[in-house]
């Protein structure tokens, strides 16, 4: 890049074009999806995608909500809630000594945990499938909790270690003098002060768990035990070529996360900052 100093700013034109372009790129698939949900298959075939629907026909939504999407939704909520509680607790436990105490194995253990971030889940998929079959957990949502905790743990520990390292040591020392033991200091000082870091993880890991596909596909089988990402798969079979119905299911399944994001976006960025800057 050569620097040309002109008063006329070509950079702002380029910026404007890029911004507009990316709006279009992001929105077209969504417009396509939402337009589809308001039509039926016949209208879609006859008039094409971008023709305005004749009337606001919400019958696709009625059909989805009166159908069996609710148990997928419930399964997803349960798996996410249970996983998050265990995940956050275990991550905070591990992050505490790793961020605050000096001991010989500190660095190697931290390195091991961080290295697990790059392990492809597919190298573990078959053995975990076998384990699930062996323990009788196969085809139940509980088979998903273990792998979900394990695969979200490395990034969570990583972010929490960075976060806890920034909490002033004096607070802990004061508690130490007041007779708080090591465990007391964790519960009374470190855990409450890590709340901003934890709430980032709720969002970040929450989205990951909500959308997870590979384990859910492999470890569950009957539709009663499956999560929302697989609902799409199943509706796909049920409605075969009914594109508007499938698009409606898609839209309904992503809506909760969009709503959560709108309210929490600054938290998410704040928390990534902890990991991103030093990472």
């Amino acid at each position: 890049m050569t620097k040309t100093k002109k008063r006329f700013k070509p950079s702002s034109v380029i910026t404007a074009i890029l911004v507009a372009f990316w709006f279009v790129v992001c929105l077209i698939p969504f417009v396509f999806m939402i337009m589809c949900t308001l039509k039926n298959q016949k209208q879609l075939m006859k008039f094409g995608v971008f023709s305005l629907p004749k009337s606001f026909d919400l019958s696709n939504y009625v059909e989805v909500f009166t159908g069996n999407i609710w148990h997928y939704f419930l399964n997803s909520v349960i798996v996410m809630a249970v996983t998050l509680v265990i995940l956050l607790l275990f991550s905070a436990f591990a992050a505490y000594p790793l961020s605050r105490w000096k001991f010989k194995l500190n660095k190697p253990i931290y390195a091991l945990v961080v290295a697990c971030m790059s392990v492809p889940i597919h190298v573990t998929l078959l053995p975990i499938f076998m384990m699930a079959v062996g323990t009788g957990l196969y085809d139940s949502i509980w088979a998903l909790v273990g792998p979900y905790v394990a695969f979200n743990l490395p990034i969570s520990v990583f972010i929490l270690v960075t976060f806890m390292a920034s909490i002033p040591k004096e607070l802990e020392e004061a508690a130490d003098i007041d007779g708080c033991g090591r465990y007391g200091r964790f519960w009374k000082i470190m855990l409450p002060l890590s709340k901003p870091g934890l709430s980032t993880l709720v969002i970040y890991d929450g989205v990951n768990i909500w959308n997870e596909f590979s384990f859910a596909l492999t470890l569950t089988q009957t539709s009663a035990n499956r999560t929302l990402p697989l609902a799409v798969n199943e509706f796909q079979g049920q409605y075969s070529m009914n594109i508007p119905m499938i698009m409606t299911v898609l839209f309904v399944s992503i809506l909760p996360m969009i709503i959560v994001y709108i309210f929490t976006k600054d938290k998410l960025i704040e928390g990534m900052m902890a990991g991103a800057v030093k990472g």
Partner: protein, 298 residues
């Protein structure tokens, strides 16, 4: 002396116990669901086995020999590499540009912050199906646009020549927002005073970006590149849903090939060899990249 030593020793053992207690749950979970399965995959790669019968024959390194000459696997690896390279080339600059814009625009650009991030909130499956229908040759929007300009039907996913590139663009569509937020976080780490000081010294926004912000963002860019490389090499969901590696392996990735070998043709031993090979390749590439990136710093 004796009493003091005993107290120190008690403190030491107390600390050791505490460390063990705090670390045990995490290490246990990682041991059971990550480390043990990796070892198990390597072991299973030495067998011929369909996954359910008791007939499990030890065949030594035969699966590995087969893997080394399996053109489908290496084709898939080549595809993964292409995804990796193009993901960095497409996603990093656009993500950085969007983050730079949002950083300068501030609160005014809140709508952009929401809309630009939405792809990241969708599951890969949802994106996969969305694009499968959006790119459908009869009802999709690419065909609709092509027809509006007098063209004919366009089948991007059914054509071996275009399918992989199409997937790469969709992956870019999905992940650019992630890097956007990542770089925004990086910008958040740069104090506002630095920008102000640069402006007072007569720097243009362009000078500020190239000479001040970019060098400061280097650590963020480096870790984003590593994340992108690892992510690209283990990519699965979207391609599985959209094309399942087809047509005729044109969009096959290592992970989709492994999944189909295990759960569609029930060759568990060979699937384990693929998975283990994938693990080795990803680890080597990740380690080499990190070494290279860290050396450049000196």
């Amino acid at each position: 002396m004796g009493i003091h030593e005993a107290a120190v020793k008690r403190r030491r053992t107390g600390e050791f116990t505490a460390i063990a207690v705090f670390l045990a749950p995490a290490l246990l979970v990682i041991g059971i669901f990550i480390i043990y399965p990796i070892i198990q995959s390597f072991i299973t790669s030495g067998y011929e086995w369909n996954g359910y019968s008791s007939a499990k024959t030890f065949i030594g390194l035969d699966n590995w020999k087969k893997l080394l000459t399996d053109s489908t696997f290496w084709g898939a690896f080549r595809n993964n590499i292409l995804v990796m390279v193009l993901s960095i080339v497409i996603q990093m600059p656009i993500g950085l540009a969007l983050a730079t814009f949002l950083n300068r625009a501030g609160k005014k650009a809140n709508i952009a912050k929401v809309i630009w991030f939405i792809p990241m909130l969708m599951s890969s499956v949802a994106i996969g199906y969305l694009f499968r229908y959006a790119l459908d040759p009869t009802t999709g929007f690419v065909t609709a646009i092509s027809k509006a300009f007098g063209g004919g039907k366009v089948d991007l996913l059914g054509n071996p020549g275009t399918v992989l590139l199409t997937c790469i663009f969709i992956i870019a569509w999905q992940f650019t927002p992630f890097y956007m937020v990542y770089y925004m976080a990086g910008y958040g780490g740069i104090s506002a005073d630095i920008h102000e000081a640069a402006m007072i010294d007569g720097a243009t926004e362009k000078d500020y970006f190239w000479n001040i912000a970019l060098p400061l963002l280097k650590p963020s860019i480096k870790s984003a590149v590593v994340l992108s490389i690892v992510g690209s090499l283990k990519y699965f969901d979207l391609v599985y849903v959209m094309t399942d590696g087809g047509p005729s392996h044109a969009s096959e990735l290592m992970a989709t090939y492994m999944y189909d070998t295990a759960f569609k043709s029930y060759q568990m031993g060979y699937a384990s060899a693929i998975a283990s090979g994938m693990f080795i390749l990803i680890s080597v590439i990740a380690i080499v990249t990190m070494k290279l990136l860290n050396r450049k710093e000196d």
